[in-house]
């Protein structure tokens, strides 16, 4: 096994989800070789932050793992709890049956073993603390096979103790929990990119763009250029109507729906994007707001749609969330779709529930009436393909 500096920390961060590759690791080596990161642990941590993180959230993750990784030396000088901290730790080691490691600690053994060689930056700091010495001595008493494990468990326990002890400070809580909005199956960015595919470019408006070809043609014909030929700019006239199911079984998907609405309205570069809400199935009225206050007659909504430029995307679980078959739902939806298709050619359905949950519910039947896709990156681009007029294999065009 080669001994690379900080490799264990690097691996640990990769497991934690930071997008790190060999390139990032090489950056660290280059920086270390040039003498960066040698001014104590804070300096090393700062170096890792600069090289390996790309957002505040990632900084939080890195700090957490970095502190856990270098925890033992921190207990002694920093918190002044050197006397108390080792107590429970040692007890933990002594009472543990030999070889029966705790689940989470066991897999990192191999990496932890290499750690002393790795801590290039903090070696100086670590040596003088009597505590580490004691630990090592303690470890040395154990049979060889168990040494790494004991060290690991000590470290883990100490790290835990440090974190608990540090709770009183104002940094601790912010590092403990991290709120991430990106657990959804499709990111904001991916949504925007998908919307971009929905295009119907038409030259419209005042002539402002130079038409090079026509200008050259006129130049060639007249032998002299008297006037530039201008033409209108291309603009995206693709209109979109989003129909969003709210409340009831859709409550868990409100966040996802909101993201769809936001990205379509802003950043999607659509000619026009309107959103209407409904509950369970779209009926004679659609609502302009998610709280069902501004009702509008379906006929009026449909009258405003452009038959070829507008497409309709429905976001609803179609009954798949509860998994029941509801005859009324299917019939109402069928009637609605029939009415919709008299005005608009391209209609698609995004279902937040995975296809595995569709069978035996209304969703399976409705999926036969309209191209239905799962809400994910793939599903969304397929749905937009349908909105652009692509024919779904094995299905009649709408």
């Amino acid at each position: 096994m080669s001994e690379l500096p900080l490799q264990a920390l690097f691996d640990r961060l990769r497991v934690a989800g930071l997008p790190l590759g060999i390139d990032e690791y090489e950056l660290l080596l280059q920086a270390l070789q040039a003498g960066y990161g040698f001014d104590g642990r804070a300096g090393l941590r700062n170096l890792c932050q600069i090289l390996w993180t790309k957002s505040e959230d990632e900084v939080t993750i890195l700090n957490y793992h970095f502190d856990a990784f270098f925890a033992p030396p921190a207990t002694a000088p920093a918190t002044g709890e050197a006397e108390e901290a080792p107590g429970p730790d040692e007890a933990a080691v002594d009472t543990r049956p030999a070889g029966a490691g705790e689940g989470p600690a066991a897999p990192v053994n191999g990496e932890r073993e290499r750690r002393p060689a790795g801590g290039a930056g903090d070696e100086g700091e670590r040596q003088p603390t009597g505590e580490t010495g004691r630990r090592r001595a303690l470890a040395a008493e154990r049979p060889a096979a168990q040494v790494p494990q004991a060290v690991v468990q000590l470290d883990e326990a100490a790290a835990r103790a440090t974190r608990l002890a540090g709770r009183g400070g104002d940094e601790a809580p912010s590092g403990r929990y991290r709120f991430s909005a990106d657990y959804l199956p499709i990111t904001r960015r991916q949504m925007k990119q998908s919307w971009r595919a929905l295009r119907r470019n038409i030259r419209e408006g005042p002539p402002v763009e130079l038409d090079v070809e026509a200008t050259v043609r006129r130049f060639a014909r007249d032998g002299m250029l008297y006037e530039l030929v201008l033409r209108p700019r291309r603009i995206n006239r693709a209109g979109l109507v989003l129909l969003v199911d709210r409340e009831g079984s859709m409550v868990p998907f409100h966040g996802l729906a909101q993201r769809l609405v936001d990205t379509a309205a802003r950043g999607g570069r659509l000619g026009r994007a309107d959103t209407y809400y409904f509950q369970n199935w779209p009926g004679a009225f659609l609502y302009g707001d998610p709280f069902f206050n501004e009702g509008e007659r379906l006929g009026r909504v449909l009258a405003n749609l452009h038959p070829t430029q507008t497409s309709v995307l429905i976001f609803s679980d179609a009954g798949a969330a509860r998994g029941r078959f509801n005859v009324t739902r299917v019939q109402e939806t069928r009637d609605f779709l029939a009415r919709l298709r008299r005005t608009v050619r391209n209609v698609a359905w995004l279902n937040p529930m995975p296809p595995a949950r569709w069978p035996d519910s209304s969703a399976a039947t409705i999926a036969r009436l309209v191209p239905m896709f799962e809400t994910g990156r793939r599903g969304m681009s397929d749905a937009i393909g349908v909105l652009r007029g692509r024919v779904v294999p094995g299905r009649e065009p709408g």
Binding site: E24, Q30, Q49, L210
Partner: protein
């Protein structure tokens, strides 16, 4: 390559006061870790992506580095493509302020096709390079004497594909000018690239991978004090300290109310505020006539619109710093913030009673 460039932020390289206004350069106090980040970016030849609250000095950093390099390594003269503005600080700093309509091509070069067409008509003969106008990256890549600094400001304002379009140019540091018989422009001096972002749009992963990242956090109170003292060396210390205390209280309240993500008062707003407070501070005299008889509202109004001959004395200004702050419009830019502030004032007043 010549000797390595190192940014220190040290005192001897800070601009003296007489240069502040004419050069639009002010003292910049980087935190130690920010300094390291800059030096790493220079050494590893990677762009440095800087995020932070608005007003935390993201844009100012590039200027501070350029100024220090000019002081330390000697001033550099312009090259044929340069505008005077690029050499304002004595070291090439190419500023690219990204707009929502910006395209990656704008940063490399623009070809003036219409200008050429016009000249051909008029039988004016010019070499084709006459119609090529280089952008910030283009100028930086063509520079041959020193490593120039490029600032791509607020990259998140542009379209979501903008950063991806720049990837190759930033990584390989070369591009082709199609109109000039596909001439290759390759950087001989590796530019030092700073990129700022306000997090309005997420940046693509492929782009992030190539950058180093630094988040400028709000300065510690001591650091804030240092920044203000540097910026206002001749100002009244008592007033400055009181202003900082009030400012920090206001900020803490806002953090508590809005959480980490909301817009809070920033360093740059504090600087403006301290400036405003001092504008109407008299060095000697008694202050406006009949001050004692005025109500608080009248005093406040008088202070905020003081004529040159009715400036306030230090005590009078300090008294106004209790309760509703003067020049609030400098600090609070949002009606909701203002309302929340008044509500807190009321609560505090009630508690006192």
């Amino acid at each position: 390559m010549a000797k390595p460039l190192i940014y220190t932020g040290a005192d001897q390289y800070q601009p003296p006061e007489e240069q502040w206004e004419p050069l639009r350069i002010f003292p910049y106090m980087p935190a130690g870790d920010l300094r390291d980040a800059v030096n790493l970016a220079i050494f590893l030849e990677r762009p440095l992506l800087i995020k932070g609250e608005p007003g935390s000095g993201k844009t100012r950093l590039a200027e501070a580095v350029a100024y220090e390099f000019a002081q330390k390594y000697g001033r550099v003269g312009p090259q044929p493509d340069d505008d005077p503005e690029d050499l304002r600080l004595g070291w090439p700093l190419y500023f690219w302020s990204v707009k929502s309509t910006s395209q990656a091509q704008d940063g490399l070069y623009l070809y003036d096709a219409v200008g050429r067409l016009r000249d051909v008509q008029m039988k004016i003969k010019q070499p084709i390079s006459h119609y090529i106008h280089y952008g910030a990256l283009g100028k930086a890549f063509r520079r041959t004497d020193v490593r120039p600094i490029v600032l791509i400001d607020e990259i998140d304002k542009a379209d979501i594909d903008f950063p991806n379009d720049l990837l190759i140019e930033i990584e390989d540091r070369h591009f082709t000018v199609t109109e000039m018989d596909h001439e290759e422009i390759e950087a001989t001096q590796k530019p030092i690239i700073f990129i700022t972002s306000n997090d309005e749009k997420a940046l693509p992963d492929a782009f992030l991978r190539r950058c180093l990242f630094f988040y400028i956090s709000f300065p510690e109170p001591e650091q804030l004090q240092e920044i203000i003292n540097r910026r206002f060396p001749q100002r009244n210390k008592t007033l400055v300290n009181r202003a900082i205390t009030q400012f920090l209280t206001l900020r803490d309240e806002m953090v508590e109310e809005k959480g980490r993500a909301g817009k809070k008062v920033s360093t740059s707003e504090l600087i403006d505020w301290v400036k405003a407070l001092h504008r109407n501070l008299a060095v000697d005299g008694n202050g406006p006539a009949g001050w004692e008889e005025l109500s608080r509202e009248k005093r406040m109004a008088l202070f905020e619109q003081a004529e040159p001959d009715e400036k306030l004395m230090l005590d009078q200004v300090l008294a106004l710093l209790d309760g509703e702050l003067p020049f609030l419009s400098v600090l609070l830019k949002d009606w909701d913030d203002y309302e929340a502030y008044l509500r807190r004032l009321e609560v505090k007043a009630n508690q006192r009673e």
